[in-house]
C-alpha cells in the first residue's frame, strides 16, 4: 500500500456531533432539503459518511461527476474502508456553501487534471476507516466487550466470542457520539486485498440517465423563471457598441434585451427558442478591434517563424549536444508536425441559471469546480460568499471547459443582477458554445534526429512553436519566462509526465508564439499534441533506421521500466508482429501524462481516401485500478475524443471561429469507432489519473498505422490536409 505524503487529516474532519437525541442526531450543521434523506435522520459518522438507521450509507463527495465515474470510484474507496453493504451506498454531493460553512472540511472541490480520485483518495479512505472505527467501538460498547473482539462484514458487526450481531444502522447514533480516532492510528486496507474498490462494480448514476430523469443544469426549472439567449463578440476581445432593441419590439414572449459585461448582449424571453430567434434578428454593432484582422493564415505564419527563430526560445531538457550529434550523424531525419485549435464541444452547451436579489445570489450550474463557480458568483454579484450558493449538477460533459473558466456563471449572474428577484436560465446556443470556447492551443513542432550507421538513435531535438495556455490564463505562473507546461510529457526528470526514452543527446525547446484566441485545458491538455509530435516522429525515425517501430522504442526505453511495461502490454495483447489481414497495418505509440503510463496499438487500412480504423488496443498503468470497468469506459471514451485530433479543427477567419457547429466540426460517430480493448496493468505503487492520459496515444498510433499503410507520414492535421477521411 502506498500513501502519499499528504495523509494528514485535519481533526475537524472527524468532529462529531454530541447533540444526539432519539434515533437520529441534531446536527450542528444543516443540509438543505435536497440533500437530506427521506427518513430525515442523518447521524453523521463524520463529514464523509452518514449511516442511516435504515442501513443506507451516504458517502459525501466534493468532486464533480461529468461522466468519468469519479462518484462511483470514490464511493467504492470509502465503502471499502467502511466495509458496508455496497448495495446500500448512496452518493451525496456537498455544496460550496456547506464546504465553506464547515471550514472546507471536504477540501478541494476541483475536478480536473485527472485528479478526482488520485488527489482525494487518501483522506476519503481515511474518512471511511474512521467511520468504521467508531461504528465498531459503538457495538463493542453496547455489548460491553473489547473492540478487538468485534469484526464487520458488509455493514454487519459480529462479536466473535458470542456470535451476536448488530448492523451499522443500529449503532450509528451511538457511534456518532464517540470521539473520532486519531487519523494516524488508522490502517487502510491493502489495495491488493480490496473487496469493493478495485472491482468492476456498476456505476451509481446509470438508472436516471437511461430514463431521461437525470437533472442537468440545463434542465433547471424555477417558479417565475425566464430564459436568456446570449451572444458575445464573435471576435475575441471585441466590445459591444450598440444594439437596436426597436427591431424586436412587439415580438412574442420577449421580455428584455440586456448588455452583459462590456462584450455581450442577451435577449430574455418566456421560452429559450423565442429568445434565441430574437437574438439572431437583433442588429448588433461590435467594436472588433485589431483582432478582426487575425486569421488561421496570420497565426500559421507566426508559428512558422517560431520554428526557426532565435528569439524568445528556450531549451528545457538539454542533455549532451543534440545539434552537434545530429549534424554529425550518418543519417538525419527531420519533420515538422502541425496540430490545429480544437473545441471542447460538451454535449450540454454552457449554461447557468442565476437568481440574484439584494441579499442573496444563487446559481444552478454544471461545474468542474463548484467553488470556482461560487467565487465567480460572489465577484459578479458583488455579494459576499456567505450570501451566495451554488447548486452543482451532474455535468453533460466537462473535458476542462467547465473548470477554472467560469465565464458562464459570470454572464448569468451579471444578467440576473439586472433582473433582481427573477431566476434567469441562460443557455448558449451550440454556435455560441463553439465560438466562445477556450480552445486546445494550436502548435507546430519541428523534430530532428540523428542515427548512426547501425540505425541507433544518437541525438534527438525538437522545438514546439505554439500558443501557451499559461500566457493566456495565468502568466505569473511562467517562471523566468520559460513556460515548461507547453512541453508536457517531454520532461527528462521523473514526474507526472516524463519522457520514456533515453537518448544520448536530447534537446527540447519551446518557442512561445501566441494568438488572440482564448486557450485552455482540453482533456489531456498538451500531452495531446506533444504525444503526437514525438510518437509519430519516432515512427519516422524507426523507419529511417530500418527497424521495427516497437523494437526501436524498446531499445530506448530500458531505463524507463514502467513506460516499457505498458508498451509491452499493449504490444502483447495486440499480437504485435503476428500476421494481419491483407491491407491492414499496425501503428504503435506510448506516452505519459497525469502520472499514468499509456500505450496504444492501432490496426488500420487505407483505401483511396478512406481510412478505416479496425482495432485499438490501449494499455494503461494508473497505479491503482479503482474500478476496471470505468477505467475501460474512460479508455473507450478517450478514443472518440482523440478523433478530434484526426478530423476536426477550429479555424479562424476575420478574428473569429468559423467551425461553430457539428456540420463543420466533425465529432466521432459510432460507425467510425474501432473495436477497442483495454489493458489495465496497475503496479500499486502510485496513484495516476485515468480520464485524460490515454487520449494522447490514440491519434499517433492511428497515424503511424496510416504511415505503415501508405508510406507517408501524416504530419499536417487534420487528416483532410492529406486528402484522407476516417470512415
Amino acid at each position: 500500500m502506498t500513501m502519499s505524503t499528504n495523509t494528514r487529516l485535519s481533526r475537524r474532519a472527524f468532529v462529531l456531533s454530541s447533540a444526539a437525541a432519539g434515533t437520529g442526531l441534531a446536527l450542528g450543521f444543516h443540509f438543505p432539503a435536497a440533500a437530506q434523506s427521506a427518513s430525515g435522520d442523518t447521524p453523521e459518522a463524520n463529514a464523509w459518511v452518514v449511516v442511516q438507521t435504515d442501513e443506507t450509507c451516504i458517502v459525501r463527495v466534493a468532486r464533480a461527476e461529468m461522466g468519468q465515474g469519479t462518484h462511483t470510484g470514490l464511493a467504492q474507496l470509502v465503502a471499502e474502508e467502511l466495509d458496508c453493504d455496497w448495495s446500500r451506498v448512496k452518493v451525496q454531493m456537498v455544496s460550496p456553501g456547506q464546504n465553506l460553512a464547515r471550514k472546507r472540511v471536504w477540501r478541494d472541490m476541483s475536478t480536473g487534471g485527472s485528479r478526482g480520485i488520485r488527489s482525494s483518495q487518501d483522506y476519503m479512505r481515511q474518512g471511511g476507516a474512521a467511520a468504521r472505527t467508531v461504528l465498531l467501538q459503538a457495538a463493542a460498547n453496547q455489548w460491553g466487550v473489547a473492540v478487538s473482539e468485534v469484526t464487520v462484514s458488509k455493514g454487519v458487526i459480529t462479536h466473535t466470542g458470542s456470535g451476536r450481531k448488530l448492523s451499522y444502522g443500529k449503532v450509528a447514533s451511538a457511534a456518532a457520539k464517540l470521539t473520532p480516532p486519531d487519523p494516524k492510528t488508522l490502517v487502510l486496507r491493502d489495495p491488493r486485498q480490496w473487496k469493493i474498490a478495485g472491482k468492476p462494480l456498476k456505476r451509481v448514476d446509470t438508472a436516471l440517465k437511461v430514463m431521461g430523469k437525470q437533472n442537468y443544469a440545463i434542465d433547471t426549472r424555477l417558479p417565475g423563471m425566464v430564459y436568456a439567449a446570449i451572444q458575445a463578440s464573435p471576435v475575441f476581445g471585441g466590445k459591444l457598441v450598440s444594439f437596436d432593441a426597436a427591431k424586436l419590439r412587439g415580438r412574442k414572449g420577449i421580455q428584455g434585451i440586456y448588455k452583459v459585461d462590456d462584450n455581450a448582449v442577451a435577449v430574455v424571453a418566456d421560452n429559450w427558442w423565442r429568445a434565441k430567434m430574437a437574438l439572431l434578428d437583433l442588429p448588433i454593432v461590435w467594436n472588433e478591434g485589431a483582432n478582426g484582422q487575425e486569421s488561421s493564415a496570420t497565426i500559421d505564419a507566426r508559428l512558422k517563424e517560431g520554428l526557426t527563430s532565435t528569439s524568445n526560445v528556450f531549451a528545457d531538457t538539454d542533455i549532451g549536444n543534440a545539434p552537434q550529434a545530429i549534424d554529425g550523424a550518418a543519417k538525419r531525419v527531420e519533420a515538422v508536425y502541425s496540430t490545429p485549435f480544437v473545441s471542447h464541444a460538451c454535449m450540454e452547451p454552457m449554461n447557468c441559471t442565476a437568481l440574484v436579489t439584494d441579499y442573496r445570489a444563487e446559481v444552478w450550474v454544471a461545474s468542474q469546480n463548484a467553488e470556482a463557480s461560487m467565487a465567480a458568483l460572489s465577484t459578479a454579484s458583488g455579494l459576499s460568499l456567505d450570501k451566495c450558493e451554488v447548486y452543482n449538477h451532474t455535468l453533460g460533459g466537462g473535458f476542462g471547459r467547465r473548470g477554472g473558466t467560469q465565464d458562464f456563471v459570470r454572464q448569468a449572474t451579471l444578467l440576473a443582477k439586472q433582473m433582481k428577484g427573477v431566476p434567469v436560465k441562460m443557455v448558449w446556443s451550440r454556435e455560441e458554445d463553439m465560438a466562445q470556447d477556450y480552445f486546445r492551443p494550436i502548435g507546430l513542432c519541428k523534430l530532428e534526429a540523428g542515427l548512426d550507421e547501425k540505425g541507433n538513435l544518437l541525438g534527438l531535438q525538437l522545438r514546439v512553436s505554439g500558443q501557451s495556455i499559461n500566457a493566456y490564463q495565468s502568466p505569473q505562473n511562467i517562471k523566468d519566462g520559460k513556460d515548461v507546461r507547453q512541453l508536457q510529457g517531454y520532461a527528462a526528470e521523473p514526474g507526472d509526465a516524463q519522457i520514456g526514452y533515453t537518448v544520448p543527446h536530447l534537446r527540447t525547446e519551446y518557442a512561445m508564439r501566441n494568438t488572440h484566441v482564448p486557450v485552455g485545458a482540453w482533456r489531456g491538455v498538451n500531452t495531446n499534441q506533444n504525444g503526437l509530435y514525438l510518437e509519430c516522429f519516432m515512427e519516422e525515425v524507426a523507419a529511417a533506421a530500418g527497424r521495427d517501430p516497437l523494437e526501436f522504442r524498446r531499445a530506448l526505453m530500458q531505463k524507463h521500466p514502467k513506460h516499457l511495461a505498458v508498451l509491452n502490454a499493449a504490444a502483447d495483447k495486440a499480437g504485435w508482429g503476428k500476421p494481419l489481414p491483407a491491407g491492414v497495418h499496425r501503428g504503435i505509440a506510448q506516452f505519459m501524462g497525469y502520472g499514468s503510463y499509456t500505450a496504444a496499438v492501432a490496426e488500420v487500412s487505407v483505401k483511396g481516401d478512406e481510412v478505416k480504423v479496425h482495432r485499438l488496443v490501449l494499455s494503461t498503468n494508473c497505479g491503482h485500478a479503482v474500478n476496471p470497468d470505468q477505467i475501460a469506459a474512460q479508455v473507450e471514451g478517450s478514443v472518440a475524443y482523440a478523433f478530434d485530433t484526426l478530423q476536426s479543427q477550429s479555424t479562424v477567419a476575420n478574428g473569429r471561429m468559423v467551425n461553430t457547429n457539428f456540420d463543420s466540426y466533425p465529432i466521432a460517430r459510432l460507425r467510425q469507432l474501432p473495436r477497442i480493448e483495454t489493458v489495465i496493468a496497475p503496479t500499486f505503487d502510485f496513484w495516476g489519473g485515468v480520464g485524460e492520459p490515454t487520449i494522447c496515444v490514440v491519434a499517433p498510433a492511428i497515424l503511424n498505422a496510416i504511415f505503415a499503410a501508405t508510406g507517408k507520414p501524416m504530419r499536417n492535421l487534420p487528416l483532410k490536409n492529406h486528402g484522407l477521411r476516417i470512415v
Binding site: M66, I218, W273, M347, D663, L673, T678
Partner: protein
Amino acid sequence: MLKLNINGKSHEVDVEPEMPLLWVLRDQLGMTGTKFGCGIAQCGSCTVHLNGEPVRSCSYPVSAAVGQRVVTIEGLSKDGTHPVQMAWKALDVPQCGYCQSGQILAATTLLRKKPKPTDADIDEAMTNICRCGTYQRIRAAIHLAAKTGKGVGSVIHMVSDAGEIIEPTTAQA
C-alpha cells in the same frame, strides 16, 4: 392552440407553429428528458419518436407534430424497464449521460425495424453524437437487447504487476 399527443397524453400549447418541438417539450411542457445539443439536427440529443420514427425535435416544427403520436424518453417506459434501457444499464453505457435519451430512442427504432441488427445496421442507424465516446457500449447494448449473441462490449485485460493476465478477457454481450 395546438393539440399534441405526447406519451399518450393530450396537451394544448399556445405557440408559434414554427417553434421546434424540442422547445415546446422543454420550455412549455417542462419535459426535460429530451435534450438540446446542436439545434441543427446533427447530434440527435433531441431525438423523439413520431409515430415510432425517430425525429430530431430541435429542427421539427411543432405544427408538424399535431395529430401524431409523440413519444419521448419519459414515455418509453414507466420505470426504466424497456429492454433497451435494461441493456443500457447492464453494460453501464452512459458516462455523462446527456446524449443517452436520444441514443436510446434511436436504438429502439432500429430494433423495432431490425430485431436482429448486424453491426452494419447499427452503424447506419446510430448516427447520434456521444461526446464521451460510449459508442462501443452502445453497440454492445443493442446486441444485448436484441439477443443477437454478437458484438463486442468492453474488452478488459487485467494484467498483474508481474506481467501476467490476472483475469481472463471479459467480453460483454
